[in-house]
Symmetry: D2
Subunit: 346 residues, 4 copies
Amino acid sequence: MLKVAICGASGYTGGELLRILASHPEVTITVVTSEKSAGKRVTDLFPNLYKYHNLIYEPLSVGNILDKADVFFMALPHGESQSVVDFFFRKGKRVIDLSADYRLRDVKVYEEWYKVPHKFQGTLKKAVFGLSELYRKKISRANLVANPGCYPTGAILGLYPAVKNKLVDVTSIVIDSKSGTSGAGRKSDLEYSYCEVNEGFKAYALARHRHTPEIEQELSAIAGKPIRVTFTPHIAPFDRGIFTTMYARLMKIKDTKQIIEFFKETYANEPFIRVLEMGTFPDVKHVRGTNLCEIGLIVNARTETLIIVTAIDNLMKGASGQAVHNMNLMMGFPETMALEAMGLFP
Amino acid sequence: MLKVAICGASGYTGGELLRILASHPEVTITVVTSEKSAGKRVTDLFPNLYKYHNLIYEPLSVGNILDKADVFFMALPHGESQSVVDFFFRKGKRVIDLSADYRLRDVKVYEEWYKVPHKFQGTLKKAVFGLSELYRKKISRANLVANPGCYPTGAILGLYPAVKNKLVDVTSIVIDSKSGTSGAGRKSDLEYSYCEVNEGFKAYALARHRHTPEIEQELSAIAGKPIRVTFTPHIAPFDRGIFTTMYARLMKIKDTKQIIEFFKETYANEPFIRVLEMGTFPDVKHVRGTNLCEIGLIVNARTETLIIVTAIDNLMKGASGQAVHNMNLMMGFPETMALEAMGLFP
Amino acid sequence: MLKVAICGASGYTGGELLRILASHPEVTITVVTSEKSAGKRVTDLFPNLYKYHNLIYEPLSVGNILDKADVFFMALPHGESQSVVDFFFRKGKRVIDLSADYRLRDVKVYEEWYKVPHKFQGTLKKAVFGLSELYRKKISRANLVANPGCYPTGAILGLYPAVKNKLVDVTSIVIDSKSGTSGAGRKSDLEYSYCEVNEGFKAYALARHRHTPEIEQELSAIAGKPIRVTFTPHIAPFDRGIFTTMYARLMKIKDTKQIIEFFKETYANEPFIRVLEMGTFPDVKHVRGTNLCEIGLIVNARTETLIIVTAIDNLMKGASGQAVHNMNLMMGFPETMALEAMGLFP
Amino acid sequence: MLKVAICGASGYTGGELLRILASHPEVTITVVTSEKSAGKRVTDLFPNLYKYHNLIYEPLSVGNILDKADVFFMALPHGESQSVVDFFFRKGKRVIDLSADYRLRDVKVYEEWYKVPHKFQGTLKKAVFGLSELYRKKISRANLVANPGCYPTGAILGLYPAVKNKLVDVTSIVIDSKSGTSGAGRKSDLEYSYCEVNEGFKAYALARHRHTPEIEQELSAIAGKPIRVTFTPHIAPFDRGIFTTMYARLMKIKDTKQIIEFFKETYANEPFIRVLEMGTFPDVKHVRGTNLCEIGLIVNARTETLIIVTAIDNLMKGASGQAVHNMNLMMGFPETMALEAMGLFP
């Protein structure tokens, strides 16, 4: 059995890792860390995870836990993750980092958007961006995977076939995302208290959300030239899911059916991508609890604009599910192991 | 007291008209019609409207109700409204039509998008588009007002100062709207049942929503040249509210503060428009139950894009509140009469 | 104009007082206090209350604000309210206390349930319990009114006619209440964050909720003998409203219709009580934003049990609306002034 | 592989059976029936169940499907199930009926509450009530299992140890249940449309809900004497879950800890029952997607009342999960096969 540690396991993504891995036949959880909840049981924080009744949080002491696990999932805040990841990586462990610290390949861009220096540039160079549909091979050989952000996952997967096949004018891309409230994390914050969020809808971090450079990095790599995008995230009154609506001016091909074919071909062998039939569009409710990214698209002929929409579960494909997918690739397990669940509906 | 009839008063907009007008000191409701609910009390359909316990629905027989009212609000389905509006209008009554039948000035456009012929083109020519911020004077002299659609209200009010002042490239406009579920109307439809909508989020009517030509008609009139827009509506799990996020390429001015000034000047005397301070953005939760349109904006300097967001209550400013505003203008009542309520929060 | 101060005006009940009083023609708000938010505008905390843009929070310095107002609403935490209320009361001001500090007439009971001593027993003796349906006359002559708790309001109003008319065995009363989440107050508490509450339902404070002695005090007074009740509160995923289901063994009369008549007679002249017709039951959604208490009841003949259900808006009839009602009574204003609104639906 | 048919597979319980059985290693679905949706794919009705893309609904023709399956799940409306169940049962098939048609052993009681005659009393006598915690042995030998109702499941499991151990006065039982809206089924009904349910809370079917005799039948059997209960169901704005609060007068033992011990002993070997520690109470959010029944309890010493609360997922333990548990028992599969999932949270 593969021994797994989860550092920072008191939040929603940590809890989701525990939930997924409970049904993974090759894995056993040996360490969960939390500073605030050290000494408590997992079930004190997650009454739903009753099978972990005997698993106790401990403080994140890298020396103490080094020998207790083979794979380390990092669900720490941005900035805090840097040194811990570097430590385990240099000790030869396999590390999957759910923070943003190793996602941006250009240190300057990281420091500009996150306002902290990056102190481990050598390690950063070894990190592979963990979007398996783009980097499957590299991930399977990597020791350090930077798990993508939730918004970038839905946005890049939606735009990848269009940008790769040069279907759209890449200077015209608009990305409008709507996230469930679990995306804000598990925290005591008036802004995310029930009565402030419920029956509300708002945009936030306009023109400055930190997932912007991550989306741009990957789209630029696909296009082979620098791309800038306009990205607006919104917070919506539901628990899980990100719905992303994307707009780009079409170049030559302007037929919905034909473009759907491009998408289907691109993702033909992907176990977690579902390109929907013409006239069919996704709903976050249908992918809840799954590792899927569902994609729908249509051409707006009157404005010669391609509209692409994607739906993911932000805690699964947007975070912990994708992290387990990456672990499966790194360890040579079947890709979909522990990630087979269909959506819980309603 | 002004005698008011509401034709089609069993849906959410009809109920909202009743709720608003209950506090209007110059008005008395004399007629409510509903085919299905004829003979029932208003309180049978709207237990909240308990003060209307003695008001009984009757079938819509134009001859019977003609003499019972001075002003007729029409909350009938599109297509059905045409002839009824024409009848009351030709009889010299004041008519406020909440359907789409008299909104589009070009009959061809109407017939193309609504798939029914328009049989009353003479009357159509007399109709004034009831967006008071654009047509206040005409409305105050009109006998027939076509109350704007809910999406067009939030979109046009957000884009008007930018288009009017030639701040943006009008070929680049993208409008992404998120509506509460009451926008779908009050009906027995599995698609809008609780467990299908709750915890979900989806786009619908992509590239073909009927509010598109209404938005284009008004923006074209403002710009003085034909404009086409890309418009995508979404349905979200809350009762009331439309949040609209708009994107357009900037022309010359690229300073958020300066553009906010343009917006503030444009709407300086508008009782129901609130242009928010820099860095502040609206939330549908804060305008619930009000006739306000709140507007926030920011320049995305990296992509030279103006992002404008608006929040309205779709049943108030997006329908019945705006209709009462129009009645106040037509009758010479104070504009804000019965529309003074601040938002019910939380 | 009557000058009004609201001490502790940053929470939901304080915000609701501001919203209600904005439409009160006899009142002007002169003081709002908040320790944490001193110096901020009301609109910084309540974007919905835009008409109070120029009203600034100040710290609660009793000396500074004494002369600025005639009526003081106290929306402070339990325990903190005691001395402030006492100060203004002894200075001859009219005080309406929304905390629990002056509700329980027996000091021992207060100290047992609230775990703090009561230091102002002289003032306590002058306080009138502010349930207007029971104490209208006393309230109209009072200088200090202890506004009832939210749960007690729905429970006492539901049971009053049954207990008063000796319809039920008072040793058998079970009260099962379901509250919207705004009842927990406006605070940064993980337990009340969106993703913890949404899609959940739970009981809390079982067998020990502090509203129990308040319900018992009033029912005992009505019955003329000590009564104990079993009371269970629950928290539910909606913003506003308390739904209370009450059970008691019937004594003699066992006919639903006849008991409804008793209830109708008891509340015949009450502007805010609606006893519903046989077979009709309330829904918190229909009283949202109103000062109503709606009551439905039925006899379960098979078990000889009377089932009474009530619905109120916890922030209105359960707190701030009732407080304004009390102010109207104390000042001789029409009872329903500023409290006329019908329910916002949907 | 065991061949399984689901008759009436277009509703929420049918969809849930499909979702659960997709991960059952011993089962293959060979037939799904629906009159309205005959010819459609499962994915047309349940986009979440994408793995069933090639499974097509067919009309319920008993002759056509008889040989296609070994086990028949019946998710038909009450009354319609009678004859179909009888047919398959007499043909020697194993039948699990999710309707109420074979739950009530006394035909008179069935006919009184359901207002239809029972035409298959011989078959009725062979039916076993499918609450596995009470009838495990009988179920394992049965060919016809009547799967319990959702409310009875939560109520009987909560009361069973108390009634069995004679802890409470069985004439005093009050059962107050709060159900998520999926309990109303999947249907186009205005009453259950989003805007009517959301932000609301109400009781329904007071003193006359059809699950009452089912609860009484089982509690009477446990007690060895006739018991009547007062049962009130409520509908709440969440998708899944039933929370039941139960009240009964205590007899001798009045210590919470001791009673919890009784409960723990009673359910010591039950894989799906969790008796929570003292001071801990369940939340429907923590059992969502699981087959668990979580139980908390406390003694209200002041009124000598035992308060028991249970939480289940109405579609799992309250319907389809319990049905699969029964199939596992009938077929000799491990009890928890396909039912191991922990709660999806948040």
